[in-house]
């Protein structure tokens, strides 16, 4: 019997179907836990963020389903954003500009669609290898941005490097990943 797609489950969550929420939870929480544990050390904090993110998903399920938004990407981006907020707060760092945070909350027109995410996930093993192709210094700067929530200026300070160098490294890394993503996906997903 075919497994329900994330989009089908999300549509049922929008109709308050608890079983569908349970299936989404089982499907996505293992990788969300890995992401959140990478950002937040304490299990309790991780579980608090997970609870909050899933409650938000339930509240927004109708909208996300109607727009065809990919649930797994939304969950990962929102969870990361929430976790980074907590981490920065605990470190006594000023809130980032958080454009993306506000953008996630206020505007979903740019979020990837379910079919794009499904295509990406089918190529996950290949994409994980792509990340390993990054030079180690670029990977280090990227990890500080992704999992520590540092700004470019903070990364430069942390690594003891000029800001211009860090900016170049991060942009070079992103450019490489973007182009490899296009190659791995075969055709650019915008054409789906």
């Amino acid at each position: 019997m075919r497994e329900d797609t994330a989009q089908e489950l999300l549509a049922r969550v929008a109709r308050h179907n608890e079983e569908a929420l349970g299936v989404l939870y089982d499907r996505f929480v293992p990788s969300l836990l890995a992401l959140l544990r990478r950002i937040l050390a304490e299990r309790q904090e991780v579980e608090e963020v997970l609870q909050e993110v899933f409650l938000r998903l339930c509240n927004q399920a109708s909208h996300l389903s109607r727009e065809g938004i990919g649930a797994s990407a939304w969950l990962a981006l929102v969870a990361r954003s929430e976790a980074v907020d907590r981490l920065r707060g605990r470190k006594g760092l000023a809130p980032q500009a958080r454009g993306s945070h506000r953008t996630l909350r206020d505007n979903s027109a740019w979020l990837p669609r379910g079919e794009e995410i499904a295509m990406l996930e089918q190529r996950s093993e290949l994409l994980k290898k792509v990340i390993k192709q990054l030079p180690s210094h670029q990977r280090q700067a990227l990890d500080l941005a992704v999992f520590d929530g540092y700004t470019e200026a903070e990364i430069a300070q942390r690594l003891g490097q000029p800001l211009g160098k860090v900016r170049s490294e991060l942009r070079a890394a992103m450019s490489f990943l973007r182009h490899r993503l296009r190659a791995v996906m075969g055709t650019w997903v915008a054409n789906i």
Binding site: A73, L77, A97, W110, L111, E116, V146, M174, L181
Partner: protein, 77 residues
């Protein structure tokens, strides 16, 4: 002005890594639904999403799922 000058910034915007000024620049385009920026942002979101694939998936605590469902039922009463 075209938006191409923002091309290198979309992923970093989504990560919250930009300076306040650069962040505001992209946000302004998104808020006025600039088609180019929205499309670039969607592409960037795919990159950022696969960057979040961190390490080995972990087994969740089953009590957490029950807690979530309980909280949800309570919020709907």
């Amino acid at each position: 002005m075209g938006c191409q000058y923002l091309d290198q910034n979309y992923e970093l915007f989504l990560l919250g890594a930009l300076s306040v000024e650069e962040d505001a620049s992209i946000r302004e385009h998104v808020e006025r639904s600039c088609p180019y920026c929205l499309e670039q942002l969607r592409e960037a979101a795919l990159t950022v999403y696969f960057l979040t694939w961190a390490g080995r998936p972990e087994r969740p605590d089953p009590k957490q799922k029950s807690t979530l469902l309980r909280r949800l039922r309570k919020s709907r009463v």
